[in-house]
Structures are given as structure tokens and as C-alpha cells.
């Protein structure tokens, strides 16, 4: 089934088809790994929206990728609660271990490191999500093992 058809099936469940934009963007991201130009064109076509509008919505949210990403994504929360319990040190540990800065992907295309705003785990910070799976709390000394697990995965 083509992406457009798949999206239109989801859209049919909403009173207004444009309400389906979030799941539609997720589907497109699943297909491409990120959201390239074609993804927005297809989502737009399926929902009767302009590609610009779809891009605008996607750019608002952290979970949509407007640039290519690695096979794995490490996300470190740096919002206030996590920051108070040492998120910066955790982040720097990942930078050292992976040899990249936040927003970058390792040269082998395996791992992307990002900072994110609140993941809702404020009582157990610093929160780190590895491929959408939460780890909490993550201290700098936990980082080498997490990266090793990721490399072995």
C-alpha cells in the first residue's frame, strides 16, 4: 500500500482529514527514516494540505526529524529538572564517548546525539532516551555501558 493511501485510511477516521497530520508524519518518517522533501509532498497530497504546512507542523515537534539521522538516536533531556541533577555532565559524557556534538551523527551513520526538552521523567533525572526507550537516571559513569550496548545492538 502506498504511503498516500495508508495516510488517507487514517484520515478517514477523523472528522477533518487535516487532524491526521501527526500520525501521517510518523508514517512518512517510518518510510524514509526522516522527513525529506518527498515526505511532505506525499503527506500534503494525501491530506489536501500544502507541503509547507506539513513541514511547519513537523518542525514544531522534536520527534520529527527534518535532517537525516543515524540508525540509533540518543536523546538527553536538558530541561530544568534534569539540568539541576547534572544533565550537562551526562551530555558531555555522551559527546566524549561518541566523539560528536549534540545534533550530529557519528561518521559511520550509526548514532545521532540530540538534546531534548522535558520527557516527563522529572523525578528521575537526568533522563536519556535511547531509540525512544527511557533510561533514568543516567549518570556520566553509566554512559560508556549504554553506548557499548548500542554498538552491540
Amino acid at each position: 500500500m502506498s504511503l498516500v493511501t495508508e495516510i488517507q485510511e487514517i484520515a478517514a477516521q477523523y472528522p477533518q482529514s487535516r487532524s491526521a497530520i501527526m500520525p501521517a508524519l510518523h508514517l512518512a518518517q517510518k518510510k524514509y527514516g526522516w522527513l525529506p522533501r518527498e515526505a511532505f509532498e506525499e503527506v500534503g497530497e494525501a491530506l489536501g494540505l500544502t507541503p509547507a504546512y506539513c513541514m511547519s507542523v513537523a518542525s514544531f515537534y522534536d520527534m520529527y526529524h527534518l535532517e537525516p539521522v543515524g540508525t540509533h538516536i540518543v536523546e538527553v533531556c536538558t530541561n530544568i529538572s534534569c539540568a539541576l541533577v547534572g544533565a550537562q555532565a551526562t551530555l558531555e559524557a555522551f559527546e566524549r564517548e561518541l566523539g560528536i556534538r549534540p545534533g550530529e551523527t557519528t561518521a559511520d551513520g550509526e548514532v545521532t546525539l540530540r538534546t531534548v526538552e522535558c520527557y516527563g521523567g522529572c523525578g528521575w533525572g537526568p533522563v536519556v532516551a535511547v531509540d525512544q526507550r527511557y533510561h533514568e537516571p543516567v549518570k556520566p559513569e553509566d554512559v560508556p555501558r549504554l553506548v557499548q550496548d548500542l554498538r552491540n545492538a
Binding site: 500544502t50 507541503p51 509547507a52 504546512y53 511547519s56 518542525s59 514544531f60
Partner: protein, 725 residues
């Protein structure tokens, strides 16, 4: 209608009574008090309270409120910055916050001197800055199209431009990317912001972020004069200001006439003015001399030549009008030809009819209609763009938009408006007949519109009729002289065919490209921005044109007056004096001054019997035609002699594509973007297919310049198929 409920609101200790639900900004204004705003703009739909400039203190509410989002309630007590130190502090802080990253490059900003951010900072803002760190910088300026540049450093994220794109023009192309402080205004990828209305965002922008590229570094606000006039690019007649510096038009901006344009302009009306300075502008008369070819001549010599050509025609002269002449110019030309030379025959590029006069409405009535019937298949945004905006406004307010008068919505609603946009309307006569059949005459909010091809065809026809009581003569058996008045006529292939039959030709044209090679005498034409006079728009509204720029030579009226004197016909060289003469015959003796800056829609009951100026005859040869789809070849908005001479509008020219209805595309196995062959009678043209939901089945649509001369019924098939059958 019942009286709206009035409520009492106290603003800065002043009591005002306004209708319940009136916005607080307007309520304050009615008390003579300003609530300053950036993002608030009622024409863009519901307020969003994004900029926080409008903070006010309201009794009973603990925190400052965004005044623009509130409406008047009975007993409300409001304090603005004038009487509330809390509100003053809040507004001051808002401005300080807005200015954190604003570059303050006002001395080199085109907006400087006419900038709401400058003005409000002056009145409500902090006198100094506490920001001693580096400001956010962006690449700048970014051309979001060849016509508009974006300076992201100056942007204050009020979202006026994106709201216009989403909720007024409904093109959805201009959007915000990212979130919060990282937000920027952008289009999709590297695509230019295109469409009929993009330029409006440069006027909506309350800072120097979105600016017209044509006006970049062209003038400072204290060097300019904004001359009120009307646009002559289409029959809508939007009210405009031509910004003039040292006799040259530097930009065209809107001059809100709430009944016509609501302050919006199309990009043709806004950006096409630089055709005045086209490289191939005819600036002096040109005479064809036997064996020597074409040579420039002086004006007195040119008038000598014109005089002898007119005399030689001996009553067998024909005038091909453009429908873009002012009423005064058409009257002067008619008086010279009819009274001075006994030549009564003139043709227009289109049929003109008085059949709609009983169904006149202001365009704004479309916005208030419950049912809008759009007849004909020429897209409104190509023929009369502002009408398209009114139809969109009606749809947003819940109106039903239908394509046939047989739709049940027509009989089941009170306010019905008909719009004819397409060929075959007989100058409005047919939609007038339809309005009569539906019984719309005299019914509140009901009426009909016809979209003519020319900006002033009706005014020109009336003027031609008004200057002689004699019966209009039929076309003479042989044409002694063809006078081609203006560029629309000069560019019309049917007029060219007429010229083939004429013994001599005089062409009045602005451009060598149109006039060269086929005229015995070329006289430099002027643009609507260079003439004084009046136009009649598609509503039947008489409006005032002003000379905004200095033309390279005399205006048509000036030299027609001199030429007429040689035939003992007295024509004053001033539009006001000519109008005084013709007004008695056409417009009930209305004086020039009474036409007005924001002209009302008047009825002219005392107008003489309307005499038709017939359309220029079609060539006898029928275009190739077959069975299959009915092809509508329309004149696109971004076409014509003026647009062709404006570099900033070239990206807006129509694509080589044909529009098909979803049904017709499906049955032919054609998908959006496919290459297709359009053919009839052995002629074919290859185009890209675009599937349009708003097109009726059985109709295909193409811009005239891509039609390959096809018209009538055509076959459409995927390219590279169908030959074997």
C-alpha cells in the same frame, strides 16, 4: 434588523457605549484612545494575541490582558498605558523584549520612517537598551520570491504574513518553521512564494522584514508622495496609492476601499508598474517613410502626418479601442472621429452590455452572500483576482459556492450573487438574463457580476456613445484608416487582421514590441499611471485616476485636443473639462470633484441610451476542433504587455500545463504531473497535466499562451500513447 445590544465600557475613565462583542481595540478607538498593536489585524480573522503589545489592565482580572483578544462586555473597566502604570510598564517590557534581537538598522531599512515598530517604540518603548550581548543573526536578505525579500533579523514573529497566507489568500505557502525563539518565516524548501496575492504580506508586515525587492533602497519616506489613484490592470479597479519620488512611480500600495478591495491588491497591480520604464518604451512618434523605413519625428510633424492620414480616410476611418482608455480620452477620440470626420465606427476587444445595470452591487456583497454562483470556467484569480478573494471570504463565512444556477442552494437562500467568469457572456447580458429569471432584481443582497476582459470597456463604450446623437455607422465597406488605440488593441490578433484590410494604420502604443512594423504612424501611448481621468469598473462604479508619474511626452488627451483643433473640433486638454462636458450626457451632470477618493457605487438613471461598440470581428477561420473535452483557453493574470516587461513577475508566468477534472483524468489514465498530448484537427501540443478538483468534468483548462492555438473540443491522451489505436 434588530438593534445590537449596547454595552457600557469604561476606558481610561471615559464611558463609551458600543455593540456587545465589539473588539476592545475598536472600543477604545471609539473613545479616542489607542491600544497599540502589531499582530492584531481584523482582516486576517480571529485575533491571536501573539505580540503582547496591546496589554491593558482590566478591573477584576489579576494580570494584564491582551486587549486585542477581548471584546466589550457591559460594565468592563479598562485602563490602557495612559492611566495604568502597570499597563505602561507591561507595554514597555513587551517592546524591550521584542527589541532584544531586532537589529535597529533603521537608517538603512526601507521601512524606517513608516514603521509601526519604530512608532510604537517611540511612544511606548524603552529609551535605552539593557542588551549588551550579541544579537541573533541570520543570512539576509533571503529572497522568498523574486518580488519579496525577507530579513529574519528584523522579524518580530507577529504571524501576520503566515495568517494572510493561510486564512485570506488560502495558499498555505508562507509558514513558520521551528518553535518558540527559534521560529523563522519560510516557504517550502527553495520554492518561491507565488500566487496572485503574495505582495500583500509586504504591507501587512509591521517591521522591515518582508519588503518588495523593487522598492529596496529606492526612497526615504520623507522624499515621497503617495498619490491616490485606481489600478488599471484589470476591471476590478482596486484603489491604490502610487508612491512617487521625483516624478517616478517607486511602488504601488493599497488604499483600502472596503467595498472593492478591502485593502488587498494582486501582484500584477502591485508590481507591474515598472513597465513604465520598459527598455522598449516608445518615447517619440515614429513615421513610416516610403523607401526609407521608420524614422522618429517631432510631435508637430507627427500631428501633420496624422492630420493628412485622417483627411485621406474621408470618413472611412475605424477606431480599434483597447478598453483601457480613460472615459475622457475615449470621449475626446470619439468627438474627433465622429464630429470632426464623420467616422462613427469603433470596435472593442470584447462585447459590452448594459444588461447588468439593474443588478449592481458592491463587490463586498459577495462576502456577505449565502450562495455564490460562479459561472464559466475561467478561474477568477486569473481574470479579476480580488473577486476570488471575496468568494473565498464568503466560503469562510459559510456561504455555499456553486457552479450552476440550478443548484438547490440558489432557491433556498436569501442572498444570492451570480458571477460570470468566462467566455460567451455577451458582455454581461446573459448573466443579467439569468438574474432576471431568478427574480434577483431589487432583492436585498442579491445581484450579479460579469468579469470583462478590459479595465474600462464599459466607460469607453459609454463615452463613444455619448459624443454623438447620430446613429452609429456600420463598418465602412473599405477601411481607409485604422486607428489602433492602446496596447490591448495593438496586441489583439483580430485587430491585426483588421489592419491587413486597412489602407493606412495609426497605432498608439507604449511599446516598440507591439507597434513596430505595421503602422504608418506610431504615437507614444501612456499608462493608466500617467493619466488623469475616470474609469468605470466591473461593478459599474465610476472612479478617479490620477496622473502619478510624468509621461515621456504629451498624454493622449493633450495631443488629441491639438489634432482636433485642426478639424475645428473643440476638445479641452484637461480631463476635468472633458468630464464636465461628457458628464451631462453620461453621468447625470456629476462634477469631476464629486467622483470622490473612495467612490460610491452610483446609478446613472439619466444616462443616454447605451449604444453598443461592437467587439472586434473574429477571423473567419475557425480554430481546429474535435470531440472530447471542451478546452477553455484563458488569458492568465500574469500575462500581457506590462507583465512581460517586469523581471520580478516572470516567475509567476503560467506553467505549460493543462488542467483536467479528476474524473476526466481518471478515465484517461492520467495522473497529476504526467505529460499529455492535447490535439484537435491535426494540431497537437504536449503539456503537463494538472488535476484540479474545482474543474467540472468535460472541461479542460489552459493558459492562452500554452494552448497552441487550440480551442473548442480537444482530445487529451497520455504522451507516447494512443497512436496504435
Amino acid at each position: 434588523m434588530s438593534m445590537p445590544e449596547l454595552v457600557r465600557v469604561t476606558i481610561d475613565e471615559k464611558d463609551v457605549h458600543v455593540a456587545k462583542g465589539t473588539g476592545l481595540v475598536e472600543t477604545a478607538l471609539s473613545a479616542g484612545i489607542e491600544i497599540p498593536v502589531f499582530c492584531y489585524e481584523p482582516r486576517l480573522g480571529a485575533p491571536i494575541g501573539a505580540c503582547r503589545m496591546c496589554l491593558v489592565e482590566i478591573e477584576g482580572m489579576p494580570k494584564l490582558q491582551a486587549g486585542c483578544t477581548l471584546t466589550a462586555q457591559d460594565g468592563m473597566v479598562v485602563r490602557t498605558a495612559r492611566t495604568s502604570s502597570k499597563a505602561a510598564e507591561g507595554q514597555n517590557a513587551t517592546l524591550e523584549f521584542i527589541l532584544v534581537n531586532h537589529p535597529l538598522d533603521c537608517p538603512v531599512c526601507d521601512k524606517g520612517g513608516e514603521c509601526p515598530l519604530q512608532d510604537l517604540t517611540f511612544r511606548y518603548g524603552p529609551g535605552k537598551t539593557r542588551m549588551n550581548f550579541e544579537k541573533t543573526t541570520f543570512e539576509k536578505p533571503i529572497p522568498i520570491s523574486p518580488a519579496i525579500s525577507l530579513d529574519r533579523e528584523r522579524c518580530i514573529l507577529c504571524y501576520r504574513c503566515t495568517r494572510f497566507s493561510e486564512a485570506v489568500s488560502e495558499d498555505g505557502q508562507l509558514v513558520a518553521r521551528n518553535r518558540g525563539a527559534m521560529s523563522v518565516i519560510t516557504t517550502f524548501e527553495d520554492e518561491p512564494y507565488s500566487g496572485p496575492f503574495t505582495g500583500n504580506v509586504t504591507e501587512l508586515c509591521p517591521v522591515g522584514a518582508l519588503l518588495p525587492t523593487q522598492y529596496r533602497f529606492e526612497a526615504r519616506p520623507w522624499e515621497i508622495v503617495d498619490v491616490p489613484t485606481v489600478c488599471g490592470m484589470c476591471p476590478v479597479g482596486c484603489n491604490t496609492h502610487a508612491t512617487v519620488r521625483e516624478g517616478k512611480v517607486k511602488r504601488v500600495i493599497s488604499r483600502n476601499h472596503p467595498e472593492i478591495d478591502e485593502g488587498w491588491l494582486c501582484d500584477k497591480g502591485r508590481f507591474a508598474f515598472t513597465h513604465l520604464r520598459a527598455a522598449d518604451r516608445v518615447v517619440e512618434p515614429i513615421h513610416r517613410v516610403r523607401r526609407r523605413g521608420f524614422e522618429p519625428v517631432s510631435w508637430p510633424e507627427a500631428l501633420d502626418v496624422a492630420e493628412s492620414l485622417l483627411k485621406a480616410a474621408d470618413g472611412r476611418a475605424v477606431v480599434a479601442l483597447s478598453g483601457s482608455e480613460t472615459v475622457e480620452e475615449a470621449y475626446a477620440l470619439a468627438k474627433l472621429m465622429r464630429q470632426g470626420l464623420g467616422s462613427h465606427h469603433a470596435v472593442l476587444p470584447e462585447e459590452v452590455s448594459a444588461g447588468l445595470d439593474a443588478y449592481r452591487l458592491p463587490l463586498s456583497a459577495i462576502g456577505d452572500a449565502q450562495t455564490v454562483v460562479v459561472l464559466g470556467d475561467v478561474p477568477l484569480n486569473e481574470s479579476a483576482p480580488i473577486v476570488d478573494l471575496w468568494v473565498r471570504a464568503a466560503r469562510r463565512k459559510g456561504a455555499t459556492i456553486v457552479q450552476t444556477a440550478d443548484d438547490p442552494a440558489v432557491s433556498s437562500t436569501e442572498r444570492v450573487v451570480l458571477i460570470w467568469s468566462g467566455p460567451g457572456g455577451r458582455g454581461g447580458a446573459r448573466v443579467g438574463e439569468l438574474a432576471e429569471r431568478l427574480g434577483l432584481a431589487g432583492k436585498d443582497g442579491c445581484g450579479a457580476f460579469y468579469i470583462p476582459a478590459t479595465p474600462n470597456g464599459r466607460g469607453v463604450a459609454d463615452a463613444w456613445a455619448a459624443c454623438s446623437d447620430e446613429e452609429p455607422a456600420r463598418e465602412p465597406d473599405s477601411i481607409g484608416l485604422l486607428v489602433v488605440s492602446g496596447d490591448e488593441a495593438a496586441g489583439n490578433p483580430n485587430v491585426r487582421a483588421l489592419a491587413e484590410r486597412a489602407e493606412a494604420v495609426i497605432v498608439i502604443s507604449m511599446f516598440h514590441g507591439l507597434a513596430a512594423g505595421w503602422a504608418d504612424l506610431v504615437l507614444p501611448g501612456t499608462s493608466y499611471l500617467e493619466r488623469d481621468g475616470t474609469y468605470v469598473n466591473l461593478e459599474g462604479r465610476l472612479q478617479r485616476l490620477r496622473q502619478t508619474a510624468t509621461p515621456p511626452g504629451p498624454t493622449e488627451l493633450e495631443w488629441i485636443s491639438q489634432l482636433a483643433a485642426r478639424f475645428h473640433v473643440e476638445i479641452p486638454p484637461y480631463a476635468s473639462a472633458v468630464f464636465a462636458e461628457l458628464s451631462k450626457r453620461c453621468y447625470g451632470g456629476l462634477s469631476f470633484g464629486e467622483v470622490g477618493e473612495r467612490a460610491p457605487l452610483r446609478g446613472y438613471v439619466e444616462a443616454p441610451v447605451h449604444v453598443e461598440v461592437p467587439p472586434v470581428p473574429e477571423p473567419a477561420e475557425e480554430p481546429p476542433s474535435g470531440t472530447g473535452l471542451h478546452l477553455v483557453a484563458y488569458k492568465p493574470l500574469f500575462s500581457g504587455p506590462a507583465v512581460e516587461r517586469v523581471p520580478e513577475l516572470q516567475f509567476q508566468r503560467p506553467q505549460a500545463e493543462i488542467e483536467l477534472s479528476p474524473d476526466d483524468a481518471r478515465t484517461r489514465g492520467i495522473a497529476n504531473g504526467d505529460r499529455v498530448v492535447v490535439s484537435a484537427g491535426g494540431v497537437s501540443v504536449e503539456l503537463r497535466a494538472r488535476v484540479s478538483k474545482d474543474l467540472r468534468a468535460g472541461v479542460a483548462r489552459v493558459a492562452l499562451e500554452h494552448s497552441g492555438g487550440l480551442l473548442g473540443n480537444v482530445e487529451v491522451a497520455p504522451a507516447g500513447a494512443g497512436v496504435t489505436a
